[in-house]
Symmetry: C2
Subunit: 249 residues, 2 copies
């Protein structure tokens, strides 16, 4: 392929991160339009009927769901494989991706990150301290207990790196943005796994962009990414005003 | 395989229906434990960390997400294929499945079916007439407008029957339970598609069980299914008391 794949979506999103990590592992060049979904314009709504990021656009498809995008990238660029060869293990990998996308999404993004970052900085609302307290005391420990029983003491879940490892690890970057660190005494496997994963080149190379974006007002994301020589798309699907209502068709 | 696959989940659920249709097409025998997710016991919560139905259990896996189950059934029983061969079409089929699972799930299950059936009959709560009115006036037309632009005038979405056709069609059975019919003048392609799909043997054979279950109190589902000679699992993962809180780990 001669032209880079286009990715619409912010470096801050765990679902965008999942796809960027997969693109890097597959050796596929990309350009990014760094919008967050609340800031998408009408053209964005057409491309992404659920107003989700990332959206991937290439010469063959426009896809607006990270799981579907990763399956497509695996089908189109088969090596290195990110889905186990064994049928039962492959199903287990897909299940763990779904668990991460859904449950870790609920807890780490909608409950934790939303309360400490999106509510105050996008909507100008106060953090709901009671809800945040429950998230930290109940929901996050439930998720970490589940992961602790699933994750390996060393290496990856299924021998080689897979979409399951990536899908789980991406959420701990957003946890870090919200100043949450896994307690290594209580969940040693999970803490070790997160540390190993984030040290991989495919994660480490994104960290400078993420760390900078999380400290940059949304309106300045694009100009700061130009300064940082990020692989930026010329076109933007963003607006300057946040829009409530994630669902549009 | 000598023993039938085990499916935990009610005939009323669109996600269970999707998997039963796929099992029938693949020629895989199954037994069912007809619980609804609110009525699952602690063993069910262990098998299904998101307390979703269906759960599939066979000699190799325990899986608790309908999309992951369908991918597994395709991998394990490749013919007839339910995913298009062409990589871009396969991605499009997976997207439409995701759209159906998420958006049609929100609108037809959580908004429509929940209001007219689950709220009154499981929780003893009145239907929220204002919310229902908005669903019928805004959300359902949005979904049907989207589908009308995607669905074919004849036949299936990708030539042969695929997981996308099935995933969309299952929700219209729940719409019918809630006495909603697609307006053939306003959405002729969608109305025609639904009629064609529900006439297929893989759908038609489930309809007697569904029609009977929707009129049967939950506590009597199992005994009525015995009368009807449904392929019933001996074991049950159900309780007699509904439990709030879909998420448990």
């Amino acid at each position: 392929m001669t032209t880079p794949v286009k990715i619409i979506g912010s470096y801050i999103s765990p679902y965008v991160r999942k796809v960027l990590v997969v693109l890097h592992i597959k050796g596929v060049a990309y350009e990014i339009d760094p919008i967050i979904p609340f800031m998408g314009n009408e053209r964005f709504s057409k491309l992404s009927p659920l107003r989700r990021i990332p959206v991937l656009i290439d010469d063959q498809v426009t896809l607006a769901d990270s799981t579907v995008i990763c399956e497509y990238l695996q089908d189109r660029y088969p090596t290195p494989a990110l889905y186990p060869d064994d049928i039962a293990q492959r199903a287990r990998a897909r299940w763990l991706e779904e668990f991460a996308d859904t449950r870790m999404g609920d807890v780490f993004i909608w409950q934790l990150f939303n309360q400490v970052a999106i509510n105050p900085f996008v909507w100008g609302q106060k953090t709901d301290e009671a809800a945040l307290k429950k998230t930290l005391a109940e929901d996050i420990p439930q998720v970490l207990n589940y992961l602790e029983a699933e994750l390996p003491a060393e290496g990856f879940l299924f021998g080689e790196l897979s979409v399951a490892d990536i899908s789980i690890a991406v959420f701990f970057r957003n946890a870090a943005f919200a100043r949450f660190q896994v307690d290594t005494a209580r969940w040693p496997r999970t803490a070790g796994f997160v540390k190993r994963m984030h040290a991989l080149d495919c994660f480490a190379r994104l960290i400078p962009f993420e760390d900078r974006m999380i400290r940059t007002p949304i309106a300045r994301h694009r100009e700061v990414l130009i300064e940082m020589q990020a692989p930026l798309m010329a076109e933007s699907y963003g607006t300057s005003t946040p829009q409530r209502g994630v669902m549009r068709i």
